[in-house]
């Protein structure tokens, strides 16, 4: 019965739950979904990880390639991130070129990783101005049920942490490149950015903040995707984005950052356990 109710009168359905201090999936307002993380999920990628956060499933694969560095930054390698939201993950996405929303997600994930400076691009350079690694990090969303940026960042960082680069020898005179696959070193990753999404629901009395929202909750809160994304990187903030939805009351601002901080510690533990 309640399923029918959800379709014909979604706003009232959602409001009825919220007024009883519970979310449609039975969680409390500040409760997050359980995380399942699996490193090296794809055997033919150089590094990979799969995350399931509630129903949201994202798989990340990293492939390595060699290239010549850009002339203006001869000591820097490349880190290319891309998020794909295929029609598979939600009915909102159509085949063809990526939608505006997909581009925004991709851009946000890229910004967070760049801002956190967890990878020093200089580590990816092999010979200045001649040879550098390109890390193609492709994230594919299999099931989109909200808080997609959190899932993307977590799988990406897990993959990066499990990535090892083969030794490369470069002959300057003949420009011959030799890759020694048997001799691999782990890529240095400093810090561990963790993003936490929130949706802010405008109820008549006060604005209610929902941690780790599902797609339905995101829709009800009026934003396109999550309303607030807080990204912690080992005690420092590396991105606070707020778009649409209800406005944040000043007093709950501090509390939100703390909730995100707590979650970042938890996700850090999950990643460490997964990789050990």
């Amino acid at each position: 019965m309640s399923d029918v109710y959800k379709v014909i009168h979604p706003n009232k359905y959602f409001n009825d739950y919220i007024s009883l201090n519970v979310r449609p999936d039975g969680r409390k307002f500040d409760e997050q979904r359980s995380i399942k993380l699996n490193a090296n999920a794809i055997s033919n990628a150089d590094a990979s990880a799969l995350i399931k956060c509630g129903n949201t499933t994202v798989v990340c694969g990293i492939t390595l390639e060699l290239a010549t560095p850009k002339a203006e930054e001869p000591d820097h390698g490349f880190l290319v991130t891309n998020v794909e939201l295929l029609p598979l993950c939600s009915s909102k996405f159509k085949p063809g070129p990526p939608s505006d929303y997909a581009q925004v997600i991709s851009n946000t994930v890229n910004d967070i990783i760049k801002n956190s400076k967890c990878i020093d691009l200089k580590d990816l350079c092999i010979v200045s101005d001649k040879l550098a690694w390109v890390l193609y990090c492709d994230m594919v969303c299999l099931d989109n049920d909200g808080s997609i940026i959190d899932a993307c960042i977590t799988t990406l960082i897990t993959s990066l942490k499990s990535l090892s680069l083969p030794a490369v020898s470069f002959d300057v005179e003949t420009e011959e490149v030799k890759v020694d696959i048997s001799n691999k070193t782990l890529l240095k990753v400093t810090g561990l950015p963790v993003a936490t999404s929130f949706a802010i629901y405008q109820s008549p009395e006060s604005n209610i903040v929902l941690t780790d929202p599902t797609t339905f909750e995101e829709e009800m809160c009026g934003g396109i995707g999550a309303n607030l994304i807080v990204c912690w990187n080992q005690g420092l903030l590396c991105g606070v984005q707020k778009y649409g939805g209800g406005n944040i009351p000043t007093e709950s601002q501090k509390n939100l950052l703390q909730v995100a901080k707590k979650r970042s510690k938890l996700v850090e533990e999950v990643i460490e356990t997964c990789l050990s």
């Binding site: 925004v104 801002n115 420092l236 991105g239 939805g245 406005n247 944040i248 950052l257």
Partner: protein, 219 residues
């Protein structure tokens, strides 16, 4: 932290002209320092049935950069502006229609996106669409020694450790939109938020001035 400590703030000089374009429903050109943006608003208009919404007006935002091809970061700017406007406009008064906002970058000497948000807000005021509140965007940068610089210049942004941009509403001064780059501590974030909140008053005062010059009744 007391807001009064920040009363002596100065923002970059703002210059604005409304009704800059003759054919659009509302338009504004705004210069904040040397950054100049032109915005035009059309609506409520007829749109194709697939993008109509029964609940509220559909907002379309187009951002055109000064030169070159449109890229992914333009989509990000559009998304920021669209979501900001969506909270400000009373969209439920115009169901099944579309509102188009076009923003043209003319000069960028830092703070382009804050200028674009403010300019869009002025264009919306000029178009006469019903709004819940007006919005004011203020940006600041954190330099390497940890000092906050309000409305940074282009060079300051390039050398900054972090930049933060906030959009506030005019009623309760709550945070409508915010986005940041770089790494910063929680304390720096809180301080930046409070300073920008205090500085947003200057932007709201400027809006009032602009509207008063164009509408003799209020003045």
């Amino acid at each position: 932290m007391v807001a009064e400590d920040f009363k002596d703030f100065k923002l970059k000089p703002m210059k604005c002209e409304l009704n800059y374009l003759s054919k659009s429903d509302g338009s504004a050109i705004l210069a904040q320092g040397e950054t100049v943006v032109l915005a035009s608003v059309n609506g409520p208009l007829d749109i194709k049935i697939t993008s109509q919404s029964m609940e509220k007006a559909t907002l379309e935002v187009l951002f055109s950069a000064k030169g070159g091809k449109p890229n992914v970061s333009d989509r990000f700017k559009e998304s920021v502006i669209r979501q900001t406007c969506e909270t400000a406009i009373l969209g439920c008064l115009y169901p099944r229609t579309g509102i188009t906002v076009t923003i043209q970058e003319l000069e960028d000497f830092g703070g382009l996106l804050t200028c674009a948000v403010n300019c869009t807000c002025l264009a919306l005021l000029n178009s006469g669409l019903s709004m819940k509140h007006v919005v004011a965007a203020v940006g600041c940068a954190l330099d390497d020694s940890g000092n906050l610089v309000l409305e940074p210049t282009y060079d300051q942004i390039q050398s900054a450790a972090a930049t933060m941009h906030f959009v506030f509403d005019s009623r309760a001064k709550t945070l409508v939109t915010g986005f940041t780059t770089g790494i910063f501590s929680e304390g720096a974030y809180d301080e930046a938020l409070e300073r920008c909140r205090a500085a947003s008053d200057l932007v709201f005062d400027f809006y009032r001035e602009v509207v008063a010059t164009y509408c003799k009744v209020i003045g």
